[in-house]
């Protein structure tokens, strides 16, 4: 407080002394560069007054971790690089209202002692992190106990080879009201990681080729993620132990492998999954203990299993989705199911529509007999699409004996449904 | 073209077809047993015998379609089943004209021209004598049975081959066409060609054939001139003579003995 008063006094004094330039002096711009006046960032930050701007000129800076302990803007010019030399994190934001813009942060090195991050934000509010490029970081942008922050338009590229030797791209822990927007994250362990986060938005990000999850999301009630693209991640996206999640307009693409899911839902309640596209995933949605979900107007295209709903999921409803070109549309682990399917378009449906209302007059059973066969005897999968299997499925659909008897779509749509999803 | 005509005027080189010591069985079934016959140039030889006697097998052996278990077949100097080139000397008319449905007569003719590598001007005269010039442009399936058989005959005689193998040549032909064909066959014979044929119509054969080879159960029961056969059996008709041969039974071969099988010295 005293310091703030002093600053105000100084401004007033300067204005009195040198009218005309005084207005430009506070807040001040401090330049860091080979030509000075500051040759390293730490010195400039130390000299800065609150709400000053530290401009980092192009060049590579190798210095101790920069700790920003006062509200200011750290602005990197194009080509301004902070290099960790494989030994340290680069920037720690330890004050409210800090902006970190346009910097390149690289080479933190790997440590197993702490979660070393290129940019760490801890116990602060109102931070703004935009337009940075983070290369070869262990953790990229790490927010712990942060609130009301914006992380936008950053590019995070790592080249992790093993899960244990890689950290997360954008990592949030115990935070609230954060917006994660239009970032690109590649090659980390988890692209975006949420644990104990509330009321936050994840929008328009591209998270791909990460070793584990594109988005790893736990205990984070009331969050939403919209129009993101999750592609070719080792295990897809996991959303767990949460209520009230909104997932809309996302792309889940090419998440393939023995334990890869477009979207893994575990203990999720009262959530909405709408207008997403699941394309070429080994499993589109895998739902375990997921209750009261609303799964509407999604496209499930060319997945191995479009939807796996285990019997411990209740009262979820799948409506107006398109199921096209999936190896298996729906599978489950029980003859009973507590989820409903209605008004979906199934490309396998061969019924008719005599009253011409756009819905088939014969119910559709999306669980194929062959999916039960494969469940018990996985190598039999190579018989997929054989005439024999077609005959078996046909026989079962005419006279169901083994597939869940109440898992039916009583009103299958005859034509593909116009879903809100649009390629960006 | 002048070359071709010149060659034709010279007449064909005479070719003897010799079947020597030939046996053939399918499994336990002996179709031909130690068959020795000779087909002479300038002669029409009818191969006769009841169904299953081995006629077709014998003809197919000459064509190289069936291989003998024992013995040899030769055309002139060439041994059958050696180099395929000897078949240049053969004009074959199969019993059933089952040709590709969608090719026209012209296409079938040019296909055979191509396959034979035939470079002169082929002999089209039968097409004209049969009056099937316009039919030649129609796909084979559009032809009547009679016209199909006419085309069949025309193709066999197209290359002025020195050995003609005609399997039931007049079957399915109307009397006029049959007459045309028979006249043509005689002309070929007179030009010095070796003509082999089979037929069920013995009456017709009597007026056409010079020599007869009669097969029964895979054995040659008679080989010689028609007149010799009639004389030997004391019959006036070929039909009666054949009947007499069949009734006679036994395994012996009859007919005049020949000094060296084919008697090339006659040439």
């Amino acid at each position: 407080m005293r310091r703030a008063l002093l600053a105000v006094a100084a401004v007033v004094a300067a204005a009195v002394a040198r009218p005309g330039v005084a207005a430009a002096q506070r807040p001040d711009v401090l330049r860091v560069g080979a030509a000075g006046p500051y040759t390293n960032v730490t010195a400039a930050v130390a000299a800065a007054h609150p709400h000053d701007t530290v401009v980092v000129e192009p060049g590579v800076y190798r210095e101790e971790t920069v700790v920003i302990d006062r509200p200011l803007t750290l602005l990197g010019r194009e080509g301004a690089v902070l290099d960790g030399e494989g030994r340290r994190g680069l920037v720690v934001v330890a004050a409210d209202s800090v902006s970190v813009l346009g910097l390149t942060l690289r080479d933190t090195g790997i440590t197993f002692v702490d979660d070393r991050a290129a940019l760490r934000v801890e116990r602060v509010r109102f931070c703004h992190i935009e337009g940075n490029r983070i290369e070869n970081a262990f953790f990229g942008i790490y927010l712990a106990n942060a609130g009301d922050c914006v992380v936008r338009n950053n590019v995070l590229i790592a080249h992790g080879d093993r899960e244990s030797r890689a950290g997360n791209g954008i990592h949030l822990w115990y935070s609230a009201r954060v917006t994660i927007e239009d970032n690109r994250v590649e090659g980390h362990r988890d692209g975006i990681y949420f644990e104990f986060v509330e009321d936050s938005r994840v929008r328009g990000n591209r998270s791909q080729d990460n070793l584990r999850y594109g988005l790893h999301f736990m205990f984070s009630d009331g969050c939403s993620y919209l129009r993101n693209s999750f592609r070719r991640n080792g295990a897809g996206v996991a959303v767990m132990y949460t209520r009230g999640v909104v997932m809309e307009g996302n792309d889940f693409d090419d998440n393939r492998g023995g334990a890869a899911f477009g979207l893994l839902l575990k203990e999720i309640t009262d959530s909405r999954i709408a207008g997403n596209r699941f394309h070429r995933n080994s499993v589109g949605i895998h739902a375990e203990g997921a209750n009261r979900l609303e799964v509407v107007e999604n496209d499930f295209v060319a997945n191995g299993w479009a939807v796996q709903v285990l019997a411990n999921s209740e009262e979820s409803s799948f409506r107006r989705n398109n199921f096209v070109g999936n190896s298996f549309d729906v599978s489950t682990n029980s003859r009973r199911t507590y989820s409903t399917f209605e008004d979906n378009y199934w490309d396998r449906y061969r019924g008719y529509d005599r009253d011409r209302d756009g819905t088939g007059d014969v119910p559709f059973r999306p669980v194929r007999l062959f999916s039960l066969v494969v469940e018990q005897n996985e190598p039999a999968l190579v018989l997929q699409r054989s005439f024999l299997v077609t005959l078996l499925d046909l026989a079962e659909s005419v006279l169901p004996m083994l597939t869940p008897d109440n898992l039916v779509d009583a009103r299958p749509a005859l034509n593909p449904i116009a879903t809100p999803w649009r390629p960006s | 073209m002048t070359d071709a005509r010149a060659l034709r005027d010279l007449g064909p080189r005479p070719v003897w077809v010799r079947v020597h010591g030939v046996s053939k069985s399918y499994g336990d079934l002996a179709v031909l047993r130690d068959v020795d016959v000779c087909f002479r140039p300038g002669r029409i030889t009818a191969v006769l015998g009841p169904n299953g006697a081995g006629k077709t097998t014998l003809l197919k052996m000459i064509l190289g379609l069936v291989r003998p278990d024992e013995g040899t077949v030769t055309l002139g100097q060439a041994r059958v089943n050696g180099d395929a080139a000897y078949r240049r000397d053969i004009g074959y008319m199969p019993q059933l004209p089952r040709f590709p449905d969608n090719l026209t007569g012209h296409e079938l003719a040019s296909m055979l021209d191509d396959l034979r590598g035939f470079e002169g001007r082929p002999d089209d005269s039968l097409v004209e004598s049969f009056g099937i010039v316009t039919e030649m442009s129609k796909p084979f399936r559009a032809l009547s049975g009679g016209n199909q058989q006419k085309l069949n005959a025309a193709l066999a005689l197209r290359y002025r081959a020195t050995v003609l193998v005609l399997d039931e040549p007049t079957a399915g032909l109307d009397p006029v066409a049959a007459r045309v064909l028979k006249d043509r066959v005689r002309t070929e014979r007179d030009a010095g060609r070796t003509v082999l044929l089979t037929s069920h119509d013995l009456g017709q054969l009597q007026s056409l054939a010079d020599d007869v080879v009669f097969l029964l159960d895979g054995v040659v029961r008679f080989e010689g001139e028609v007149s010799e056969l009639l004389a030997a059996t004391g019959q006036a008709e070929l039909e009666g003579a054949i009947a007499a041969l069949i009734l006679e039974g036994g395994d012996e071969r009859s007919g005049p003995a020949r000094s060296s099988g084919c008697g090339e010295e006659v040439a």
Binding site: E378, F387 | K60, L63
Partner: protein, 262 residues
């Protein structure tokens, strides 16, 4: 070689004009167009089409080959009585029958696929489908040649062809499925793949699986499948094996053809 070309030329001309071939091309044209117009995009069209291809291509190839050969037997004999070798004649007959069938298939399936944009949208998958249909045609005409030159009687030959088709498309897979249940306690990945290699229909189907079911196959946890389907081995292996499946019956039929009595 030139005999092969000559026979091929006329045989092709004959086959191309045949109603069977035109019907075959139209069948695929209509089926593909129908599937395209039904909607659902390429992701729907290709798998449905694959089912049709796997059934129709072997059946038609087998039947067309055997019927043409039995029907054309007298003409084959006429050709054999010409001054040409049997080996090159055989090649001409085989190619003259197989290539038009392949052409009809490619035309009937490829044209509508290309015009629907599938070949641009998922070129890899479309090519794999066309490739497996092409190889399958060549395999089953070769098998047709074996049948027609092994069994002298046309009725028995056609019966055998149908039986063979039934065995290879349905019965075989049934036996494999039952066996895989009986031996479920053992590691089955490798035996299953071997079983697929031993049946050309299954091989073609594996090619199609790689095209349209890769997501599911990669979702399977076994290491052998991961390797086979994930690293391109499956594709190369299946294509090579299927090509071997052309060579095998071809060589067999050729051996019969050059040695048999007509």
């Amino acid at each position: 070689m030139s005999t092969t070309r000559k026979v091929f030329r006329y045989q092709t001309r004959n086959v191309v004009r045949s109603r069977a071939l035109i019907g075959y091309a139209l069948f695929f044209l209509a089926t593909t167009l129908g599937l395209v117009r039904l909607g659902g995009g390429v992701e729907r069209v290709l798998p449905s089409l694959a089912n049709v291809v796997l059934l129709a291509v072997p059946l038609v190839s087998l039947l067309v080959a055997t019927i043409f050969l039995y029907d054309g037997r007298p003409f084959t004999e006429l050709l054999l009585s010409q001054p040409v070798g049997r080996r090159s004649l055989f090649a001409g007959l085989y190619l003259g029958l197989t290539l038009p069938l392949i052409g009809a298939f490619l035309l009937g399936v490829g044209l509508p696929l290309a015009s629907s944009g599938a070949t641009q949208e998922v070129p890899g998958q479309a090519v794999l489908l066309l490739l497996s249909g092409t190889l399958l045609t060549a395999v089953f005409t070769a098998i047709g040649f074996v049948v027609a030159f092994t069994l002298g009687d046309a009725a028995r030959g056609l019966g055998a062809a149908l039986l063979l088709w039934l065995v290879l498309t349905v019965v075989y897979d049934g036996v494999v499925l039952i066996a895989s249940h009986a031996f479920a306690a053992y590691p089955l990945e490798r035996p299953m793949l071997v079983a697929m290699v031993l049946n050309p229909v299954d091989l073609a189907r594996v090619l199609i699986l790689i095209a349209v079911d890769a997501s599911a196959l990669l979702g399977y946890t076994g290491a052998v499948f991961q390797d086979f389907f994930g690293k391109g081995w499956g594709l190369v292996g299946a294509a090579v094996s299927l090509t071997a499946w052309i060579a095998l019956p071809y060589a067999w039929a050729l051996r019969r053809f050059t040695r048999m009595d007509f």
